[in-house]
Symmetry: C2
Subunit: 259 residues, 2 copies
Amino acid sequence: MNDSPRPLILVTNDDGYLAKGIRSLVDAMLSLGDVVVVAPDKPQSGMGHAVTLHHVLRLNAVHYPAAVHQAFSCSGTPVDCVKLAIDQVLHRTPDLIVSGINHGSNASTNILYSGTMSAAIEGAVEGIPSIGFSLLDFDADADFTAAAHFAHSIASQVLQHGLEEGVCLNVNIPKLPLSDIHGVKVCRQGRAYWEDNFDKRTDPSGKEYYWMTGEYAIHDKGEDTDEFALAHGFVSMVPVQYDLTAYHAFQRLNNWSLK
Amino acid sequence: MNDSPRPLILVTNDDGYLAKGIRSLVDAMLSLGDVVVVAPDKPQSGMGHAVTLHHVLRLNAVHYPAAVHQAFSCSGTPVDCVKLAIDQVLHRTPDLIVSGINHGSNASTNILYSGTMSAAIEGAVEGIPSIGFSLLDFDADADFTAAAHFAHSIASQVLQHGLEEGVCLNVNIPKLPLSDIHGVKVCRQGRAYWEDNFDKRTDPSGKEYYWMTGEYAIHDKGEDTDEFALAHGFVSMVPVQYDLTAYHAFQRLNNWSLK
C-alpha cells in the first residue's frame, strides 16, 4: 500500500474561472493529483505581475463541473490568486502550480504583460514548480485538445523531475490538430515588441480617448526562439527565471564615473 | 554654435503625477534635456507590467510647476503611460526614459510587482535607454535630496554612454542624507520574497474579505546583492534585462521524455 499523498495541484489563469481554457487544464490535471482551483472572477488579461494593494480581495466558493477538491473565484489578479491560495486556501504547499490554458499566445515578450505567466512566475518566487500554458488561439471556444494533451505530458514530467530553483516554464501550443504537432522544443524567449498604434477617438461629449492597438513585430530570426518553434509546428517550452539581472552588463557599468 | 538638439527625456512613475517623487525627478532632469511628463493620474503601485486592454485610456494636459515642455496625466498604468507617450505625445523617440522617484524600495524581487520598474522595462523593450529610481522611504513627504542627486548623476552617464540593447537600470537609494551615502554599487538582484499573511476580516453584511499584508523575507546573504548594498549605505544599481530565458536550465529539460 502506498501512503504517499497524491500531488496537490493549484490551477489558475488570467481569463477567469469560467474560461474554456482553464476547464481543459483542470481536466488534464485530474489524473495527476488533487486539484484546487483559485482563479479570477473576471478576465484579467494583460495584468502582468500586478497585485492588489489598495483594495480588498474576495474569495467565493464556486461550483466546478469536474471532480476538483475545491474551487474559488477571486476578485483579484492572477498573482493575487496564487498568493491567496497559498496563504488561505491550501492546507499545504502545492506540489505544482499550472496556469492557463490561456486563450492566445504568451510567447516571446508577451510574457511581460501576461497574467497567465505572472501567476507561474509568482509560483517560482515562492519556490513551487510552476508552468504557464497558452494556446495560439484567442477564440473563446478554441479547441484545447492538443494543448491539454501537452499540458498533461509536461506537468507529468515536472512532477517527476521537479524544476531548478527559480525557474518556471512558459509553454505555448500552436493552433494545430494534435496529429500535426511535431513535438516539444526547448527554446529561448524571442525578441519582439508591440508597435503600438493607439486608436484615437472622440466621445459623445467631445473628449478624446484611446484604445490600445498595435502590430506585433518579430525581428528576431533565431531558429532557437519560441516564435520559430511555434511557426514550424512545435510546442515551445521556455525555461523562465525571475532573476532579471543582466550580468553581462556589469563590466561596462563599473567603468562609469558616478558620484 | 551647436545645432544638435537637447536630449528628449520622458518622465513617468507609478505614484501618480502629483507625487513628490516625480517632482523631484523632473527637477533633476531639467538641466539634462527637454522634459516631457506622462504619468498616471492616480497611484498605480503594485501594477507590475499591466497594460489596459479592455478599457479606454485618457490623457489630460496638466499644469506642472517646473519648466517642462509638456505634462499629461494618464488614466492608465505606468506601462500605458510609456506606450501612449511614445505613440501619441512625443514628436520623436526619446533619448531617455526615467521613472520614479518611487516612494519605497523596488530592490530585489520587488521589481516584479513594481509599476516604476515596469515602465523602465517597457522602455528597454522599445529600445530606449531607461532607468527606474526608488527611494527606501514610503513617506509621501520623504526627503528626495540624495535620490535626486544620484538620479541626475546616473541619468547623465546613461545619456553619455548609452545602455546595452535590452538592458535598463533599477536604481534604489537608501534613506540617508547625501553625506552619509558611500557611492553607487553595481549589484545583482537579491533573492527574496513576500511571506504573505492576508488579513481576513468580515464586512458589515457578514461576508469575508482580505487585505494583502506580509513580511519581506531576504534569505540571500550575498554581498553582491542590491539589498546588501542598500543596507551598507550604498545606492544599488542593478542592470535589468527582459529576456527571462533561464539558459542554464536547457540541458536538463532536453533530457525529458515529452510526447
